[in-house]
Symmetry: C2
Subunit: 109 residues, 2 copies
């Protein structure tokens, strides 16, 4: 097969802005580990490999799961970049859909 499947590259599913659900977003943010991740993305995209949790003992499959919950809730974007992945907050979409929510959470002590 010489023809590449076109747009292959492990593409993960992201919900559309219109499908974002408030309770799902709140749930995604309601875990300390996931919240920690979100805070790290506050100032811009971060490569997953550089995105470390306070607890260094957590398995990589567990870490992957945390990202999955955030992605499926529509909180973050997880795109392929080189041999790794680039993570970013879906700020604009979240702000449009739930104005003030993300800032309130990020600003909270």
């Amino acid at each position: 097969m010489t023809a590449p499947p076109n747009g292959s590259s492990h593409d993960l599913a992201h919900p559309q802005e219109q499908d974002l659900d408030l309770t799902q977003v709140l749930f995604a943010l309601s875990d300390p580990g996931r919240l920690e991740i979100v805070r790290q993305l506050r100032d811009g995209p971060v490569e997953m490999a550089q995105c470390n949790l306070a607890d260094p003992t957590v398995a990589k499959s567990t870490k992957s799961h945390l990202f999955k919950v955030l992605r499926e809730a529509g909180v973050i974007l997880n795109l392929p970049k080189g041999r790794g992945r680039l993570l970013s907050l879906r700020r604009e979409e979240l702000d449009r859909r739930f104005p003030g929510l993300l800032d309130a959470v990020l600003d909270a002590s």
Copy 2:
């Protein structure tokens, strides 16, 4: 025993403002049923007996549990009133502790 235990009346525990935890609050709000309750308290205190869920089939013990989660997270106040209970949002405390959060959640579509 003629002497009443003084301040008896089924007093439920409520966390202090300083002990409110963001992730716990977010978790409490991340359930559709609980969110529904919180919305009903938006415009002021409501007696529990008048606080009904969309789904009328839910058992009273289940309902009680929903209120418990909200209370233990510090989202609502649950005080005795007559033979029932009066529920209210802990608005001021939540606003002080997590500015903008409650409004963002309540205003969300």
